[in-house]
């Protein structure tokens, strides 16, 4: 351990990074499958089956990244875990109800008698909506420092709407990749609508963050920080422009570039997330508790890290394998 200097410094940092990584992976992966759930009401009965088929093999593992993220918060920063989750008690509960509804209606909608299918389709949409809205609300509250005031709740309501539209955007981008024909053309239209939510959401958080505290303001608007940070907004703007330009041309005649909106959207999510991480470091509860104050004992973190170094690559490996196995269009039915 000597090699890395003081374990009470690098271990919390490493775990904050791991937690950030799993939140980012969660937001992109469950983001697209929640988004597909949000688009259900816009599709007809036959298309609904294809929408569900496009996320079928993936949603469960996608959701597990949330469990890992919350697990890492819980194991690495126990006091912060308590503060964050008790102050977000109600939105967490609403998210959980949403995730429960969505997860089970996925199974029920196809197994229950046909007459009940409509009900479970509705539950699938409602669950996705509840989960997306409450996650956006929690994000807004977190950015504003977890204080329950009317202004903060108002801001959080806005981020709730933006994240929901943002999820439906990345969901539509996923569908452009996984479907073809009429449904694909529809998905392009949905993505064109959804991108506005994404732009407004990223914009709102970017504008609000520096004004939450002087510390954050200085972090962003001082020289030379502004210089290093300039690529973040510039790249984001370029990506938005690229997505917009692509969406006007998709689909191409031989389905080339169908993956580009999804890839660009993921990059955009990653950039915004990087900006947030920069803003809040070293705090795990904004302006209250730093990752160093909240960290668990080094010997406990070390024992988890040892395992993580082996297990995380394995998880990434078989996750990639599963995306590879289920590549191709979601409608495909093969009997060979």
């Amino acid at each position: 351990m000597e090699l890395f200097g003081d374990p009470a410094v690098w271990l919390p940092f490493t775990f904050a990074a791991l937690m950030g990584l799993s939140i980012l992976i969660y937001v992109v992966l469950d983001g697209f499958d929640l988004g597909v759930g949000l688009l259900m009401p816009l599709s007809d009965e036959a298309e609904k089956d294809r929408l569900v088929a496009s996320i079928g093999p993936f949603w469960d593992a996608n959701e597990t990244w949330l469990v890992l993220a919350i697990g890492l918060l819980l194991v690495a920063f126990p006091p912060a875990h308590g503060v964050i989750l008790t102050s977000l008690y109600l939105p967490v509960a609403i998210m959980l109800f949403g995730l429960i509804l969505r997860g089970v209606s996925f199974e029920f909608r196809a197994k229950a008698p046909i007459a009940q299918k409509r009900f479970w389709n509705g539950a699938f949409f409602t669950g996705s909506l509840m989960a997306s809205l409450s996650q956006g609300f929690m994000l807004g509250m977190y950015v504003m420092g977890l204080q329950w005031t009317w202004i903060n709740a108002g801001f959080a309501t806005l981020t709730a709407l933006f994240l929901t539209v943002g999820y439906s955007f990345i969901g539509a981008a996923w569908l452009i990749h996984k479907t073809d024909g009429v449904l694909q053309a529809k998905a392009v239209g949905w993505a064109k609508g959804g991108i506005w939510g994404l732009i407004l959401g990223i914009g709102a958080i970017s504008l609000a963050t520096p004004f939450v505290s002087d510390r954050l303001f200085d972090k962003w608007f001082s020289y030379p920080a502004m210089l290093y940070l300039a690529p973040l907004p510039i790249l984001s703007a370029a990506l938005v422009g690229y997505i917009w330009w692509k969406l006007r041309r998709l689909p191409y005649y031989d389905d080339r570039y169908n993956w580009t909106p999804f890839a660009a959207a993921s990059a955009l999510f990653a950039l915004s997330f990087g900006g947030m991480a920069y803003s809040f470091y070293p705090y795990v509860v904004p302006e209250q508790i730093t990752i160093y104050e909240a960290a668990s004992a080094p010997e406990s973190l070390f024992i988890i890290l040892l395992g993580t170094l082996w297990v995380l690559p394995a998880i990434l490996g078989y996750t990639i394998l599963s995306y590879f196995i289920f590549r191709g269009k979601a409608t495909e039915l093969r009997y060979d």
């Binding site: 819980l74 126990p78 008790t86 199974e107 668990s296 406990s300 196995i325 009997y335």
Partner: protein, 464 residues
């Protein structure tokens, strides 16, 4: 009602709902692997039919387990932040290892197991089935390690009021872990055995005598008949282990108010906490002394040892522990008689010709494993009160400082959702069984037919 009691009810409701589904998936995963291996070995279509029916039950149970499990992981923070703050250094790594070694394995390979049959080679599909079963068992292992450690903690020291690990070997292999783990795995095996036997018996009653139904009835009955004696023996070992480490729990289970010799085995009584005695007691003289101490006059610890001088009670509430223990044992013996009678009849007359009353009995017992598991769970978890971690922290010390009405509102919402989902779950399984018995395809989806017969193993469609 205050936040503490509401939070306890809420957590109790959540974990009661959650545990139902792992109880199914842990053993059903291995049973599916067995079906798959039989199919690979014999090429007999009936095994694949059994697989295709039960894999749907597995997928449904798995989804129910996942969503309620996510709820559990958040409840630590929303309702019991004190737990992680005090023993997070020990509980944290165990939970982290569960997520990393089990959750992802199950979730990813479940996708391949359900929907990948036509996209991967047959042996990869068998491997995926194995990895899902293995993952659920790993998950059980880590959770039971943590739970056992909370009952019989060791391998740590307290520094400034926070537990620090000193030996991970001692933490993982704590004294009650092997008993608890085996007891839980056997409970899952029995639950699944009775679910399979019960649904198969129901289909027989509906006049469905397909080869696959006969085979699953045999598998269910023989599995139950084989596991139940092992479970009864294991339960006894577990009881002796509890007597050593948590005597107050055993005293509550036995309804024994005074430490004394010649303690009867109480078959029925109404424990009266006010008067500190049993009313309407019916017992076998010296029974408890014989079972627990192997001597007719063996001294058995009583609840009076756990009342402080000032009158503070440090033992669990007696009645719920006493009754749930009797429900568990009662169902255990019912399982013993029915499964052995069933196994005997199948050997003599074949699975096709079981007498109708026996088929009704198996149908009635379909979800008996659930009730026994819950009763056992209440025995051990209520029996731990007032401790959350035995001798380290009480339940009261862990509870969150959130307003009671907030907990009450979420509690009501959880109860409504859970009640609706249980009804839907049992309803859909029965519906699938009825549909399959009528010989209809299990999916509402229309499949394009290529060639003549449906291939023996096709991939399910997502959500099917």
């Amino acid at each position: 009602m205050d936040t503490l009691i509401l939070s306890r009810i809420q957590f109790g409701a959540n974990i009661s709902f959650h545990i139902l589904f792992p109880t199914i998936t842990i053993a059903l995963g291995w049973v599916l692997l067995f079906f798959k291996l039989r199919f690979n070995a014999t090429g007999d279509q009936k095994w694949m039919d059994a697989y295709m029916f039960w894999v749907k039950v597995f997928a449904l149970s798995f989804a129910m387990g996942v969503v309620s499990g996510i709820t559990m992981s958040f409840q630590f923070g929303t309702n019991w932040p004190g737990f992680m703050e005090k023993v997070g250094n020990i509980a944290g790594p165990l939970l982290a290892y569960e997520v990393m070694t089990a959750f992802f394995l199950e979730a990813v390979f479940l996708g391949i197991m359900l929907f990948g049959a036509s996209k991967v080679k047959p042996w990869v599909h068998t491997l995926a089935t194995f990895l899902v079963a293995f993952g659920t068992t790993m998950s059980t292992f880590w959770i039971i390690v943590l739970n056992s450690w909370m009952h019989t903690p060791q391998g740590f020291e307290m520094r400034e009021g926070v537990a620090h690990a000193t030996s991970w070997f001692e933490i993982i292999f704590n004294p009650s872990m092997p008993y608890r783990l085996t007891h839980m795995l056997l409970a899952s095996g029995l639950t699944v055995a009775f679910v399979i036997a019960g649904i198969s018996a129901l289909r027989m009653l509906w006049g469905d005598h397909k080869e696959s139904v006969k085979s699953t009835l045999r598998v269910g009955v023989f599995l139950a008949a084989g596991l139940i004696p092992a479970q009864i023996l294991m339960g006894d070992f577990h009881g002796l282990n509890t007597l050593e480490y948590q005597p107050q729990k055993v005293a509550a289970m036995e309804g024994n108010w005074e430490t004394r010799g010649n303690v009867p085995l109480v078959l029925f009584a109404l424990p009266d906490e006010e008067a500190r005695e049993n009313r309407f007691e019916i017992g076998i003289p010296n029974g408890a002394s014989l079972i627990l101490k192997h001597k007719a006059d063996g001294v058995v610890p009583g609840l009076n040892d756990f009342v402080a001088e000032d009158g503070t009670v440090n033992h669990p509430p007696v009645a719920p522990v006493f009754f749930s223990f009797r429900i568990m044992v009662g169902i255990g013996f019912a399982m013993l008689f029915l499964s052995w009678a069933g196994a005997y009849m199948i050997r003599r007359r074949g699975a096709d010709n079981l007498p109708k009353p026996m088929l009704y009995a198996f149908t009635a017992m379909t979800f008996s494993g659930w009730i026994a598991t819950l009763a056992g769970w209440y025995t051990t978890e209520i029996g731990r009160q007032p401790w959350l971690v035995q001798g380290v922290m009480t339940t009261k010390q862990a509870v969150a400082d959130v307003p009671a009405p907030m907990v009450l509102s979420t509690l009501i919402a959880y109860l409504l959702i859970y009640a609706a989902l249980i009804v839907a779950y049992i309803g859909v399984i029965t519906y699938l069984a009825a549909k399959s018995s009528r010989g209809e395809p299990l999916s509402s989806r229309q499949y394009p037919r290529r060639g003549e017969a449906e291939p023996s193993l096709r991939a399910l469609q997502p959500g099917e």
